[in-house]
Amino acid sequence: MNDKNNKELKYVGKNVVRKDGKEKVTGAAIYIDDIDFGPNTLYAAIVESPHAYAKINSIDATEAEKIPGVVKVVMGKQFPYRFGLYMHDRYIFAQDRVRFVGEQVAAVIARDPRIAKRAAKLVKVDYTVLKPILDVKEALGVGSENNAEAGIPKELVHPELKDYQHVPWFFPKDNTNIAHFRKIRNGDLEAGFKDADFVFEDNYVVPRYAHCAIEIHGAVGKLDHSGRLTVWTSSQSPHTQRHLFTQALAPLGFTHNDIRVISPYVGGGFGGKAGVSMEILAAALATTVPGHPVKVLWSREQEFYNTYQRQGVHAKIKVGVKKDGTITALEQLLYWDAGAYVEYGANVVNAAGLSATGPYHIPNVKIDSVCVYTNLPPGGPYRGFGYSEFLFGLESHMDEIAKKLGMDAVEFRLKNAVREGDKLAYGAKMNPNGLIEAISKVREEIKWDEIDKADPSRPHIAKGKGFALFWKAPAMPPNSSSSCFLKFNEDASVNLLISAQEIGQGYHTVMAQIAAEILQIPPEKIRSELPDTDRNPYEWQTVASHITWSCGNAVKNAAIDAREQIFDVVERALGKKREALYLEDECVKSTEEVAWSVPLKNFIIDGFMMKDGTWRGGPIIGRGTFMPEFASALSDPETGVGGKPNVHYTVGAAAVTIEVDRETGKIKIPKAVLAVDCGKALNPDLVRGQITGGLLQGIATVLYEDMRFNELGKLMNANFTDYKIPTALDVPEEIVPIIIETAQPDGPFGARGVGEHTMIPVAPMIGNAVKNALCVRVKSMPITAEKIVMALQEKNKEENKEKI
């Protein structure tokens, strides 16, 4: 096998123009709401709970059913089934009780969406309203301050918790609102703190956030008269969706073979279109009107309150350090507001718990990462998967410690940064990584060691710099896998059949580049086909920043498989020496015969005709799969140690300069720098795209996005008017993306993922810059202009008190 070394790559590492580009810039790309299903299509509107916590007494649909054009009103009780990705705690429709404002209770199916919407308002539901649990501390109960398990809650959001099936690495606590308790115990915490010269403790709060993909969720289900259920969804996870639909509808007799999931282009996912949230409704409702496509399209409001949200977390962090800055011990208590259903969100809590040390070498660790039920929308996967949430507190805290020690914040981080081979808190070893390189490149680019002079003409502007490290590993089951069928066409063009999804990251293009490199066919002649579970082979989900690595390996394996078959048939039919064969310029060539070559298109479908008129070969079809066989989620429930739950970490560093107006609290960002170690940038432009996009999404969470629930658990700002995501006017003046390449040994051409990581350091980096500029530490997100002004006023009050 002739594996070329990275220096000679022809397609990988190049800024190949995106394959989905023309469709997208012409408006021809098809998304879920663009597919026409014909005049037979029916539309569903959902009857939702106005209460955060209530018993359902009765549902009366008589008025609704009278409306002309209403085909059916489906009651929740028709689907009394539970399902879930990691834990079966979620209902298709609420049964006896509703657990969050907006939860689906019934549905109206009608011939026109306006009729459905009108009729849904006429469905009368009688509730007995219960007092909702809206706060993690209340959910944990009295006595839970320093030990979540010790709390005794007044009310249980899920009284049947102990009956719920779940993955073996979750540890729910009966008779509590704790759906999962991830414990990490490593070393000797007490000794670690004794050994420290200083111990610093503090609390940080991160609220919930919304994904705000510009495309809303949508799904269309059709049960045809052969008994097959096809569901079209805007989804990051067609195969996992099929699996969950099967699980949820199994009581109706459905098996995997009966269900097909097709996903067109997705207009932004960010984790929100992973798993199954509202899509189950299209699948279930379709079964009530066989022969009709049933379309369920969310409004922007529903997008906010009835799809996954990023969970909120209360963090208590205690760190022991020596005078010289060496960290000796870390204790983190992370109490997560995970919402009404945690079938997916509990794994966020798990992932965060495993890695809440951050990218540091810490010998003595205690982490409690607790997934707590509340009567708020279900928490779930969101870009960063728990890491942005805990890193805000951790990187803010590290910065505080450095200041208190009188140490430079970057020096402190360099001293304690994790290195390759270091033992992690759960026992596994740290992979090769360019963290030190990232830190020093960012430090240089932001001119960390220079202090920006104040501008006398703008006396109310304070300048500051902030730094943060980040890391993240894909959080997924140990047997998450990818697979690829690679088929040729007569002109030696290629179709890659893969079920990872193009959600904007450019993955179709990168997969084509990988196949192109192996087969030496230009990426322009390689198509990646959108997922269809009937046709494209299995992919777990397009999440976790793992597709470049996992599906990339599957594609590479499929291309190698195809290449081997090509060499096989050339050897067999033409008698060429196999060891000398190689691919170049869409031909097979031989190192032994410089003048000879045979174009792939001559035989790739037809094969070779022998002298006697018989043929050899036939269509070449490559097959590749990838599943890491070294990952394991088995661990001791009391210590978290054992197994290798995280396949590898992507690391990096980021820094920012800010200008804060002391009078208004408003922040401008002259420069942001972010370095991420992607192992190998298969398409550097696309990596840079993730950096600029992720950076702004991170800035949005720390400066602008501000979710507000009222005292009854209703989301008050379920729209873009009052939940502010940045516009083109809110972008930093200069963004410097830095690509670090410390190869991932088991990655395709050395690559590992970066999709989520570029958002993770941003909130603490800005919090640190605010502290640097104003000497004020804001310990809760978002750090709005208003909060800054109030914090400055508080600070002035304290200082005036001291003076008196």
């Binding site: 969406p113 208004t664 507000r708 009052d722 502010k724 940045p726 516009t727 809110d730 208003e786 002004v789």
Partner: protein, 296 residues
């Protein structure tokens, strides 16, 4: 899918006289101009009109008429048209500066200033500038025309002095012949579009005479008479600014809502007051920040 559930009849009269006929015949109706408010409310099912009268065909309502004495803005004049007008920047800069802060370009291409004052939402952008320009609302019914001074127009949140059977046909205001410097400052949560959490319009004329109006800091836009009296005739210096800042809380009644707390609004009103006074003074001298520059 952006579904409007309610059903209604739609009319598009070409003249005002047809409008009045329709108003008499239909009794229950709403007017449709730019639609950026109404269509939204229809979708949220906040309003359920039986009839919609689209007035956009009525040519006489589309005119901007600027003479030496008066500016008349027809009720169909959009924010974009105000911004693009060649002379309004010089004669009525606050109208232009406020218009520039409304939503985004595609909304400004449809939304009208008259529509804005008819909505009378407390956070409206047109209120404070129109107050300092002492504008008048020209209202017509089938029988008569009447003029409502802008300070009598806003009766409360979403309540105006428009009576049944009436339609606003124009805004008009005197063309200030003297030198002027003015500024419209708006508080949003970031640089991108936002509804005002607070706004202030300051118009400085010669002889240290000021007109000051606050928006989004009370149920309706208001003229800050106490502040104006205190400023009158005095040269602007830091001491005067501090005194005026102390008067701010006597003029406004900010509330706490999901957009901002009353404490922050009050604080910002003072900051905005100070910056507006300084900028207006500079602009009066032909200096100062370019029109549309954010001061906060």
């Amino acid at each position: 899918m952006s579904a409007i559930v309610s059903e209604f009849e739609y009319f598009k009269p070409k003249t005002l006289s047809v409008v009045f006929e329709l108003m008499t015949k239909l009794q229950d109706y709403v007017f449709l101009a730019g639609g950026t408010d109404l269509i939204c409310h229809l979708k949220e099912d906040i309003v359920r009109p039986t009839n919609i009268i689209d007035i956009k065909e009525i040519d006489e309502l589309k005119k901007i008429n600027l003479t030496d004495d008066y500016l008349t803005l027809g009720s169909l004049v959009t924010f974009s048209q105000i911004i693009e007008h060649e002379s309004l920047k010089t004669c009525f800069p606050l109208l232009v500066e406020a218009s520039m802060t409304v939503a985004s370009g595609a909304v400004r291409n449809r939304a009208t200033m008259v529509g804005n004052i008819c909505s009378a939402v407390p956070c409206l952008d047109s209120g404070a500038p129109l107050m300092v320009y002492e504008a008048e609302v020209v209202v017509k019914s089938s029988k008569a025309e009447r003029i409502v001074p802008i300070h009598e127009w806003f009766l409360g949140p979403r309540k105006t002095a428009l009576q049944k059977g009436e339609i606003v046909v124009a805004l008009r205001m005197k063309n200030l012949s003297s030198k002027q410097g003015g500024v419209y400052v708006k508080l949003g949560r970031y640089t991108g579009e936002d509804l005002a959490q607070a706004s202030v319009a300051v118009l400085k004329l010669t002889q240290n005479e000021y007109r000051v109006s606050f928006g989004s800091l009370s149920p309706t836009p208001l003229r800050a008479k106490k502040i104006e009296a205190h400023l009158k005739g005095k040269v602007l210096d830091n001491k005067l600014i501090e005194e005026v800042k102390a008067l701010v809380e006597k003029e406004i009644t900010p509330i706490t809502d999901i957009r901002a707390t009353k404490e922050y609004r009050l604080h910002m009103a003072k900051v905005m007051m100070e910056r507006a006074l300084k900028a207006s003074t500079e602009r009066l001298e032909g200096l100062g920040p370019k029109l549309g520059t954010a001061l906060i």
